[in-house]
Symmetry: C3
Subunit: 440 residues, 3 copies
């Protein structure tokens, strides 16, 4: 059996967050976790489909994991899943093919369920059907009483669902060549061409089994999903684990489920409140607090910073900042006193601009979203849900309530008024005040 | 003997601070403390005079203390003390009456002195005379050589005081009906009608004893008096007291006179420097400092906050804030980096707008004064002595140097300049800098 | 032998930093260290040349050290070193004279080298030649093969250096009267008159020995040199030293080379990361961090402040500030949340205005430079390399990106927008949020 891992998507709605396949969770790219899960079932014959934007990164990664993993490029990304299958058709040949999305994270049990049904020669295909309790705007499986699928209905609307099962991309097809042939029969180039091909297979008599699944399902479509994904991974931690050469000051406190990678340094009075993952060689400086977050490699979480419920890339420097509910790219730095707002004053849901539309994040707590190479000055205020593009610099002391594109320099213009100072510091008063600081 | 506790005042000059009777000190409303003090002398026959604005709250509270306490409403609050006595005249009947202000806090000894003289049948009334060493703009007792009062002079002016004794409202009258009758003889409705009635009693031959008193006297007229009142109560604490289910992190420090109410949680590296009172179920988070303050119930004093010499209501959330010398209402929250200025640059006394006039607070240290339901954004700066009305929201990153009425939304308008960013983050330099952080 | 210590310079390029002679290092003025070094070689016959601006301070200091030290005033400071020698000519008489700059700090070995050569009667003068490996814009010694100086070339330009030796002002002259006479022969009043006089001596046949020196050399010309000078002194510390009556909270951490002067108080969770010097009676408050810095006397480094790689005068008050790579005068205070930017977003070298010109500080890390008596409000942002003059006050919440002269009051004008607030705090949501703070 060939496993076809689909990783060519461009993550457009994630911008400026980088390719989701390479977002790091527990110190490893998401796609690493996916490949590891596939291989844990003894499946070795893996073909990863990438795009021009990530092909080299995929090749580098898979070479480290197992040189036998094959990587193919999907040239036209607009062709979606169908294009991915066609790109790999020569490698699939006439073998069985197990099509898996790189971005849908499911429990091991989901694989077990599909692989178990796949052994039943009575089925030509097996499709994972995630059972949902409330309406979800995805593709629903239409299922006959014998458990076989008669079609897939995209976004039927609440109350019109043909079943409680959502189509998740864990699809087993006993004859890969038949799938390829069906796709070729669908002439439209729309992004539902693959789903239409499944309809062709059904109409040609393929017995397509709906495999009900009740476990978790996590995916990354919008930036805030990065935090949900992170939480899922962080909760897999157990106890306190330390890599090599980890230094922890005697007055630091590590509590909950915490992973400190090699070379991490935790300084005086710092607190790590798990679940939390701290990447290699990262310094958590004096009086800093990290909670429910993943911090990348080579970061410096500077004096008096708080990082809460956030995902930080590599080489991020903070300094007396509050970064809450935020997704921060690689190589970013924040001037002292810069703060991410993560809650509206009216406590309403936070709306985020996604490709020109305001999308409701369905959460009241969402902070800053940045690409790579972002710098902020001191005492800067980022409003909830703002996005800052790659390599953009944000000046000191301003309130940023709008998204910023890549490669911009944003600054404020403060008009200063200057007049003669008639006051003089009154030493007597200061002495009196000094006597009051006993309670410091 | 009936005790008439006057609690109908509207605390106009306190706005937006709530009814002073229900400001909490050591976890109990001010009026609770007053009733408890009265009852500590075995006085059970208490009549509380309230106004429409606080009648229900008084009834609820007195029902909990002792259902025998009677509560009457004063309809016309412009009638002042005289109106209060008239409102309760039926309940007073022909008994002796001990008129006590709910807002003047005095030592037990003040009650003892009055109650002792009241036993002397030779006197018809006994009036507490607080001896002052410097001029105070209040009513002075004019006293004959035999210790009997011949009149009360309102604000005589410095140097013209008829005695050193200020009239404090701890007034014993052996015949309540006679007081009521005297009030009725004064036809003016001015707020000194009660005092005029005392003049009537004197002119009719009543023997009114001035009872000299040298102990403390605290009252709340202006917002900053709340802090003075608080200090008085906090200093009554002794040692460290804890309620039930209090959790204190091993690295937290509690020092001085501190009361931690039931369910309080003190997190890592937090410091409570007494005297301080922390209300029920309040969380003092990591690295926070509370000193010389009262914090209400269900508050979260978030990471890295400092609360100094301040009075906070219930359900207040702070987060990396400095709140100094401030009076904060219930259900308020402050965005990270928001700071209360509490000292002028020229270290002059702080002036506060009270009903249209600038009043000198006679202190150089005064912070923010808020009503209930106030929210601030991140990195906001409040200037010393500013007042924010109930349910007003203050946007991020602004300097608030003016008072804000109830139910307002205040925000700044920052014009951002955006240009192309020609700089690139220089990795070599960052590496060099990284090598410098040894000293972190 | 007379030692002539030159201390009349006006430190113009240092403004608003005070007279460099009286900048404190390890708790003592720079000139104290210089005099102590001279005296450590048994040289007792010291003449200090001051100017009108510092004459009294020099007299006061030398009287404490040794009343035999003579102080003379140089009237015309434009006459430079030549003028200094002439001012002291009567005191020098016909003795040998050892001319030493008060601002060039060198190793003991530099003195040893000069004093050793001075014993050799074959030389009339000995001049210290600091060997440099790269071009420095100073005066280079032109040296004959026999080691005798044939002239001094000012700023020859890179590649045109006549030797690798820079002229440092440790100059021994066996006959002081001859030096005086040579100076008088130079008729120009330019500031190289002294150097020209050396040329006269050479032309008259004086044997002037170049004494090569490879040790350290530190001088203060521009404000940032104060930090380099400080680092040199701090590195002379060893281990942790405490004066009398030092109080250190149990939870405070002192590490590295640290000197705590008499009466210093270190509060809870404060961290001092050496090398650091803390002056007399200074308080390092709760949660503060001081690293690689010198703090003057009677300072309060308030709650949550970080002072990094900075030099602070006496009576400085900070409060939740970050002060990095900064030079702060005496009697300054900073409102809570005020931050010194010390790194440009583009990480380029920081330029500083010095007497009308932009001078490259040749460092990427430089913060604020202030005179004495400076005050800042809350949440103020100082851009890297900004200079604030004596007794200038800086308002709250502004970004200061320009230098400020002495005696100014600088403030911002924020236009606040006020509208009715339609939102109400939603208690249910707050309850939900509260349940999330477990991880605090």
């Amino acid at each position: 059996m060939k496993v076809l891992l689909l990783a060519a998507g461009r993550s457009k709605r994630l911008k400026p967050v980088q390719d989701k396949n390479f977002l790091s969770f527990l110190g490893k790219p998401l796609i690493f976790h996916q490949i590891a899960q596939i291989r844990s079932f003894g499946l070795k014959d893996i073909i990863v489909v990438g795009g021009k934007h990530n092909l080299n990164a995929i090749k580098k990664l898979t070479a480290e994991i197992d040189p036998r993993i094959k990587v193919v490029e999907q040239k036209d990304l607009d062709e979606g899943m169908a294009g991915a299958v066609l790109s790999a058709s020569r490698l699939i040949g006439n073998d069985a093919v197990f099509v898996v999305s790189a971005n849908d994270v499911v429990e091991d049990n989901a694989f077990k369920l599909i692989l178990k049904e796949a052994k039943n020669k009575g089925f030509d295909s097996c499709i994972l059907g995630k059972r949902v309790s409330s309406y979800f705007p995805g593709g629903y499986l239409k299922v006959r009483s014998n458990g076989l699928i008669s079609g897939i209905v995209e976004k039927p609307g609440a109350g019109k669902e043909p079943s409680k099962m959502i189509n998740l991309v864990l699809h087993f097809h006993r004859e890969g060549a038949r799938l390829v042939s069906a796709i070729k029969k669908v002439k439209t180039a729309r992004d539902d061409r693959y789903e239409n091909a499944l309809g062709v297979l059904i109409s040609e008599g393929a017995r397509m089994k709906a495999v009900p699944y009740d476990g978790f399902w996590r995916t990354i479509k919008y930036p805030w999903h990065v935090l949900e994904m992170m939480n899922g991974f962080l909760n897999e931690l157990s106890g306190i684990k330390k890599g090599r050469d980890v230094q922890i000051a005697r007055s630091a406190v590590i509590k909950g489920k915490v992973y400190l990678a090699d070379g991490v340094k935790i300084m005086e009075n710092a607190v790590i409140a798990g679940p939390a993952y701290i990447g290699k060689n990262t310094i958590i400086a004096t009086n800093a607090l990290v909670r429910e977050s993943e911090i990348g490699e080579n970061c410096v979480i500077g004096f008096g910073s708080e990082i809460a419920r956030s995902h930080l890339g590599n080489d991020v420097w903070t300094h007396s900042n509050y970064i809450g509910d935020s997704i921060i790219g690689n190589d970013c730095s924040f001037g002292s006193g810069t703060v991410t707002g993560n809650l509206r004053l009216d406590e309403a849901n936070i709306m985020v601009n996604i490709e020109g539309s305001k999308i409701d994040s369905r959460t009241t707590k969402l902070g800053l979203i940045t690409g790579d190479g972002v710098r902020s000055g001191i005492n800067t205020s980022f409003m909830p849900g703002v996005k800052i593009g790659n390599n953009s610099f944000i000046g000191a002391g301003i309130v940023v309530a709008q998204d910023v594109e890549d490669d911009k320099f944003v600054y404020g213009r403060t008009e200063l008024m200057i007049k003669d100072n008639k006051a003089k510091a009154d030493k007597t008063r200061r002495e009196a005040m000094r006597s009051k600081v006993k309670g410091h």
